[in-house]
């Protein structure tokens, strides 16, 4: 009963809730080369609403608007760099799915390389140390005699 009341309340609330505007329907550019460029750009730009998708794959209304903006700018003759700069000016570096190489991101780009290099050095140092262990000296005459005696004892047993 309680569950039914809850479901009823929820459906009433949802019926009363306002509907966000429908996304603009994508209209591909007539020129296939330009459209391919626009789509490639859309795939390189992050959606700021659902943050782990590109605007090419996001269903968010804002992503549809941004796809439209990308098409318009490409059609207006902007270079890829100019379109990306347009987006970064409004939403920050965050919208670039591939972060730029700059002082703030050096650690990000070079960190893994530095760690691999460091690991390589440690391994190389370890291997060299192991190889440097001197070969055991040959047995002296006394030791040789004792060894043979021991082995002979074992055979007898």
């Amino acid at each position: 009963m309680r569950r039914l009341a809850l479901a009823l309340a929820a459906s009433l609330l949802m019926a009363a809730a306002p509907v966000p505007p429908a996304p603009v329907v994508d209209q591909p550019l007539a020129d296939p080369a330009l459209e391919a460029r626009a789509v490639a750009l859309q795939q390189s730009l992050r959606c700021v609403v659902c943050q782990n998708e590109s605007i090419a794959e996001s269903g968010a209304v804002l992503a549809a608007d941004l796809r439209q903006v990308v098409r318009e700018r490409v059609a207006a003759g902007d270079s890829d760099e100019e379109v990306r700069a347009f987006m970064v000016a409004r939403y920050g570096d965050f919208v670039l799915l591939k972060p730029p190489f700059e002082p703030a991101t050096w650690l990000l780009w070079l960190g893994p390389l530095a760690v691999a290099l460091l690991g390589g050095l440690v391994v190389a140092a370890y291997l060299r140390q192991r190889r440097a262990v001197p070969e055991a000296d040959a047995l002296s005459a006394d030791e040789q005699a004792r060894l043979e005696a021991l082995l002979a004892e074992e055979d007898e047993a």
Binding site: P18, P20, P21, L62, V88, R90, Y91, G92
Partner: protein
């Protein structure tokens, strides 16, 4: 000595990493900084929302006084939440400019007639392009704009009394004394 240090190095690296990850846990990955902070508002000129008006809202309206720019929409649930508080703020003399984001003409006016109108001026941005120029990712969002028309702060999400006391009021007070 060196050997002993080498022995502890992995433990220390692990502890530093754990510390950084721990700090990372407390950060909100969805909080995006606005690129407009300390920059002038981008130029815009919006059609009126209120019936009978000829001027909606333009970037030139942000001059001489500290103001808020509130991005809202009739379809936005968070805007309903903050609306009564915006009405209170307007009564206290806070100047709020309204940007009616991605609303069909008429929807914004109907919404203001239903819920009250806390805005000094309201402009309609039906295709959301001015919102994109402002770096808006959703409604509601509120910008603090100083007397020179520069954006000084952005709040994403509804303004509740708690948000107002903790975030926005101190900033407005500081900017007010700054002149």
């Amino acid at each position: 000595m060196i050997r002993r240090l080498m022995f502890f190095a992995p433990v220390m690296v692990l502890m530093i990493l754990a510390g950084l990850l721990w700090l990372g846990l407390g950060r909100d990955p969805e909080a995006l900084p606005s690129t407009l902070i300390d920059e002038p508002l981008p130029a815009f000129e919006l059609a009126p929302v209120r019936p009978g008006e000829t001027h909606g809202l333009s970037s030139a309206d942000f001059a001489d006084r500290l103001m808020l720019l509130n991005v809202f929409a009739s379809w936005c649930v968070g805007c309903r939440v903050e609306h009564p508080f915006l009405m209170q703020l307007a009564e206290q003399g806070v100047i709020i400019q309204g940007l009616d984001w991605k609303d069909a003409p008429g929807d914004g006016a109907a919404w203001l007639a239903d819920h009250g109108d806390p805005y000094d001026r309201v402009g309609n941005d039906p295709d959301g392009r001015t919102g994109i120029d402002l770096g808006v990712s959703g409604a509601p969002e509120t910008f603090v704009v100083d007397a020179q028309g520069r954006v000084r702060y952005r709040h994403v999400g509804p303004i509740t009394p708690e948000v107002w006391r903790a975030e926005l009021e101190p900033i407005l007070q500081r900017l007010e004394t700054e002149g």
